[in-house]
Symmetry: D2
Subunit: 326 residues, 4 copies
């Protein structure tokens, strides 16, 4: 199929590569001309502007926007919509808040333009492994673009099939789903990332407790100097915590068991935050997902004002003078 | 090698099967004679008492005790130790608290008897997949018994190898490690289970938020009736949360997306609790692992006294009368 | 001063009483005529409609709206604004989200109407103790209405003065503050409620741990059957946790140490939720405030779907069949 | 009454002062002779050794030990017990773990010596306000020593009485209780401190969210530069969060609203940790109390290993390179 792809960063570029290799015809554009030029050598058609992308496509057009969530995605889609015509499709493959999708979907629908939100997981590994896709939007459009999604998704691969799925939607096994109406795709992707935060934090705390078991403050016979790289590796085989995140941890620890290249400063992205907001809207307890987010907030500060308030109270009621932070 | 195995429940029985199939000579015993008789048909030698196990083995003997942690393990090991001689080895393969290992190891050492603690992961899948083993004790003994551990462990299998491990201990890749002195094996297994709790809770919260997204209290266009079975399945391919726990969740949801057979009552075992105690001893923050444990405590109550205290205060300061629990 | 008060529920009615007793001239209205009639006997002027309130007041008018946050407050203020003129003042004394204040303040400003948001704490005790007021809006308006705020606030009372406040704003000591521009009043009140949730939960957990210390599962000599009413009372004198919330707890426990009249179902209001959203916007860790909110969410369910997901996994990896919920 | 007091630090010295002023006869000792000499000028009798304390008292003796929990308390009580006789009483007024009390009580009982554990709250304010006492031990001994406890406790003071307590134990209103058998006193004090941690953290988070509301990253009209000193002060009058901890916070903020003298490093003591262990033993959820403890653990580190593990995973799956910690 013919498809436009706007935004050729790591994710966008590899999406084009995977589509091109599957025989699809990609018209690509990025504000920076270099990645488009590179992709042109791999079979894509490089356009020099958004307008050129729209012009190069035969209606009904499909344009996949793969840009950072926020103003740039918003502006790009608005500009595209201004040039497109009824029946055309805009796909937002970025990490947009599902509420923005719902609003935007309604705006485009008023012009007859279709909108799909596609939560896209795969990161730096997507080109090789394929992208796990969570799609929101009208059924008719999702079905029409099936060749695109099918090409991007990982497929059955060598992963063992889940018993009892014979009667269920086969697309899920091949790595993509139609999650529901506009917004549902990014909603599911958002929860995926929220879970990811929690799983990461579970591993992080466990390894922290193991690393600190060598502390000289502990009784000598309850003190262990554990080999974290070997532990991560052994858990990859036959344990309950077997997971891709563990594979990555094992790989990092095999290179440097002290992880000395890392400062401990950890960023968070919108999805982790929005997951908690969704939980609150629904009155669903989300202790672990919230705690995982707060750890990241804390990691980026030298100290918090909260901690100073604690010390001020301790001085007040007990005369406790805190030792300086080392 | 020749080995005694005491305790022939699901775990113990399958350990015997896996060892027997690998050519080891197992002398087995359980207070209930049925499983021993069954294993005798598969090549093991069934003994009728602990004493008979000890008698049947040629020194230096090795006896693997696979019983529930606590009094029965404690008593069995004490009774064995009374019949064994210097150079013999007792293995505790159960879920013992590492501090009990440390104490017990010293007691046995005073009689010249060796003690190994072997954290054993694998559950109902261990016979087929192999057991992930985390071993604590003297190097000499661990090395001597390598054929046993090697036979029980999963081996390299089809799992992709971790880059950079060429120079590291090859046993980890084959699914077993010598974690350190007595206690270290169960310590690492304990942390494994603590992490397991956190990962499970991360998934549980995420699926709960998705399930409640269909609530009629939400605005109609932000409400989604999501197919949880398909979502679990699609995440198995190319997503960041790919894991064995996700495989199991996908399998359960494929059978019944509402999980109606489950009451919501969730047990916890010692390891989850001891993990938090270890974190506290080391002054390591463990927000996610603790929260995961507390969710299980809460799940087993109709309501808590804490919640009644909240309502009493609310009545006191605001005249709020709480609606009855539905 | 002359002031209109709209909404004569428990809070609104007592605000009118406290103002009337201080010599202010209140024109009051409620959709239900009964409370207005009652207040008329205590010196207020009962109006029969919003329009009648506006008509009865001499410009520049002040109308205090004391209604549940949400649509009814929104609609009432819109209706009032349609009848008021430049220089008039609308006060929202309810529990409105500060972002709604910001929006509404701008809307009214475009018509020359002033808007104040007044976070009002005091509950059923406000008539006697006075109301703690947190005010957002223009300095000129806040200053002009000082007699109103001063009359509602508790005043210095018998509370010991804080050393070092001699040079600081004396209004705070008398129980009201001008917190900042429109929105700041409700923001501060929101945080007050967030903190309240956390303090309540701290007490609730502590009393729960004490109550469960009588459990027969504990070793006999580490088991205590504690008198919670006496404990709450003793802490009121000389302990660090002395507080009004403790006073209320002591009072409730003195009446019924088992709190049997309470179901354990605990409501939450918007402020607790918005506090977490504000923390997330600012990337400030709020572990305790979030956990306090989640406990309330959990208290209103028989079980969560999350817990069923945990059980499904446990069945999957370990063959664990959970006991039914008692 | 005659009483020995061992350990004359801030707490012990002021206990002697309060007892002496009430007419009790104190024989005092500390390894450092200075505080004893000072107290001798205020009416106490200074002894030069533990043996001298025992010798100076008429049987049945009472010795109050007021030393840091741990080895020094353990050793001192053992030494005293070696010199005392049946019917004598040892009081541990420090912050001992209640399980140590239980063990120690049994050891002393085997020699006919009585043991009381007295949880003592009051800090630097106890001399003036009186000490809140939570007493564990035999009823006969607690009753015999009532004049001591009564003198130390705050008494009714000016605090409003709790309705409905007329028929209940009057000692609670006067600031001391007999909580139960040996261990119960320190257990209740432990929970008091656990709750204290939670309340402090609730305030700390609330003030942190308010302080960060001035951040330039927020939209201009949702950004507030709040006066934290005034807010703490206003909440002291008529709000729900009125408490001694708030008084102390208001006092600290009145002196320096930025709390610049504090590093943010916050210590924790045993009681906060043991509270969580008690909760875990009882299977009681304690989310807020645990989170409060973990914040303090975190405050004393530049970064955690856990955070580095998170960054390592993020690099692995997404190629995310974290910015350095500022």
């Amino acid at each position: 199929m013919q498809i436009g792809v706007v935004g050729l960063g790591r994710m966008g570029g590899n999406i084009v590569r995977r589509l091109t290799r599957a025989g699809h015809d990609c018209v690509v554009y990025d504000a920076n001309p270099a990645p488009g030029a590179a992709l042109a050598k791999e079979g894509a058609t490089a356009a020099q502007s958004l307008a050129a992308v729209v012009k190069a496509l035969t209606p009904p057009r499909t344009v996949w926007v793969m840009l950072p969530a926020g103003k740039i995605t918003e502006d790009t889609i608005a500009e595209l919509a201004g040039m497109m015509q009824p029946g055309d499709v805009v796909i937002d493959g970025g990490n947009t808040n599902f509420k923005d999708d719902v609003r935007r979907g309604k705006e485009l629908a008023s012009k007859g333009i279709k909108y799909l939100d596609v939560g896209t997981s795969g990161g730096v590994w997507g080109l090789a492994r394929g992208y796990c896709l969570m799609i929101g939007g009208d059924t008719e459009v999702v079905n029409r673009l099936d060749p695109i999604f099918s090409a991007l998704a990982p497929g059955l691969g060598s992963i063992e099939r889940t018993e009892g799925r014979e009667q269920l939607d086969a697309r899920a096994e091949r790595g993509y789903i139609h999650a529901g109406p506009v917004g549902a795709g990014h909603f599911v992707k958002m929860i995926h990332n929220g879970i990811e935060y929690g799983m990461m934090q579970a591993f992080a705390e466990g390894f922290d407790i193991m690393r600190n078991r060598a502390s000289e403050k502990l009784p000598a016979d309850e003190r262990f100097d554990l080999n974290l790289a070997d532990i991560a590796e052994v858990w990859r085989r036959g344990s309950v915590v077997t997971s891709w995140l563990l594979d990555l941890t094992a790989s990092a620890l095999a290179k440097d068991a002290k992880l000395e290249q890392f400062s401990g400063h950890v960023e968070d992205s919108g999805e982790g935050r929005w997951t908690i907001e969704a939980a609150i809207e629904e009155a669903v307890p989300a202790d672990v997902l919230a705690a995982s987010l707060f750890v990241r907030f804390r990691s980026r500060q030298q100290h918090t004002f909260a901690e100073k308030v604690l010390s001020a109270m301790r001085l007040g009621f007990g005369g406790h003078v805190e030792a300086p932070k080392k």
